[in-house]
């Protein structure tokens, strides 16, 4: 993380020069909305896939929408959905979702440092709820301090894409020919394997090795040792992460 600190210091001195003019007037709600629009476009179809998965799972539309409203977390929601499907207990769901979303803590740590000071209770919690991979990667491109209206605009746009996509996907599932319904079950896996392929392209073979280790371990635990899906997931994910951190040296990998 220390390289981030350096970066911030540099920006800090820049801010002294331009603080009153450019930087402050730029980061408006409208700017957040503009920069959030590509995220909206990206989230919408993915959320549609989630809506389809929910329908496949037997949820009603308000439950699917509530899922996206309260969670607002791509892989976390897909994980929770597949755990619900496999009959996991609540503790398994809680631990698994907590771990897969733990990266938001690191993103939030950096965001909260760059955010303008003096944002109180409820507003702060709402802004925290809007932390996602994409929102983070767009917001941190700005010099601190990042203004509250800007971040709110950015997050709200992304949020609307995610929630409306879920509803539309669910409705699309209702008009889907019944012959296609079974095939839709593959959506979840197609989504994860696509993510994996894109991570592999961006970060190299280490990604594949780690995923291979966790996939093999998970298959072993479930198929041979008959362990619950949630616990198997947690054990496989943690083991592969530790192994990965051990064989990948510090500078080679930046998540």
């Amino acid at each position: 993380m220390y390289h981030r600190g350096d970066l911030q210091e540099r920006h800090g001195t820049d801010n002294l020069l331009i603080m009153d003019t450019e930087n402050q007037s730029q980061l408006t709600f409208h700017q957040g909305f503009v920069e959030g629009s590509p995220i909206f476009v990206g989230y919408f179809p993915t959320a549609m896939a989630f809506g389809l998965v929910c329908r496949d799972l037997g949820l009603r539309i308000w439950e699917a929408v509530l899922f996206s409203v309260t969670n607002f977390a791509g892989s976390g929601q897909f994980l929770a959905a597949s755990l619900i499907r496999s009959g996991s207990i609540l503790l398994e769901i809680f631990i698994s979702v907590l771990l897969i979303n733990l990266r938001y803590s690191f993103m939030g740590a950096e965001l909260s440092r760059k955010l303008e000071k003096g944002i109180g209770g409820p507003a702060r919690l709402l802004l925290a709820h809007g932390t996602t991979d994409e929102v983070f990667s767009v917001a941190v491109l700005h010099r601190s301090p990042i203004s509250k209206p800007y971040l709110a605009g950015l997050e709200l746009t992304a949020y609307l894409g995610w929630v409306s996509g879920t509803a539309v996907g669910f409705l699309a599932g209702m008009v889907l020919p019944s012959a296609l319904q079974l095939a839709v079950g593959v959506t979840l896996y197609a989504m994860f394997s696509s993510l994996l392929a894109q991570e592999f392209r961006q970060k190299g073979k280490d990604v594949l090795i780690i995923a291979l280790i966790s996939a093999s371990l998970n298959s072993l635990l479930i198929l041979v040792l008959k362990l619950g899906v949630g616990y198997s997931f947690v054990i496989s994910m943690l083991s592969a992460s530790f192994l990965g951190a051990w064989f990948i040296k510090e500078e080679e990998y930046r998540a």
């Binding site: 993380m1 799972l57 037997g58 897909f78 938001y104 690191f106 079974l182 994860f192 993510l195 996939a215």
Partner: protein, 102 residues
């Protein structure tokens, strides 16, 4: 899931877990001072999660035609590797699965 438990319970449990990790950094600062090994491991979690999210589920879900899902995710991986975006790989894999299940 226990079938008589309404869906809203696991949905809210999942929401709670997500909300906790999101609000944590706004109230504590120790996240910046974790030992490097631990911090590196935690950053690898999302990658390590992808393996078990796909296997063995993709094979078990389409039993007895286990190959249907497997071929579909291979197709979607190849498409996603070559171009950005999720919707084309996902739609293609649904189509492939559909054809294999006919």
């Amino acid at each position: 899931m226990n079938t008589n438990l309404p869906f809203i319970i696991p949905i809210l449990v999942s929401a709670l877990a997500t909300f906790l990790v999101r609000m944590l950094p706004y109230y504590v600062t120790f996240l910046d001072r974790l030992p490097p090994f631990l911090s590196r491991s935690l950053r690898l979690l999302p990658i390590a999660a992808l393996g078990p999210l796909i296997f063995p589920g993709v094979i078990m879900d389409f039993h007895p035609r286990w190959y249907a899902g497997l071929v579909a995710v291979m197709v979607s991986s190849i498409i996603a590797y070559r171009r950005n975006g999720m919707i084309i790989p996902i739609l293609t894999s649904i189509l492939v699965t559909y054809l294999l299940l006919l």
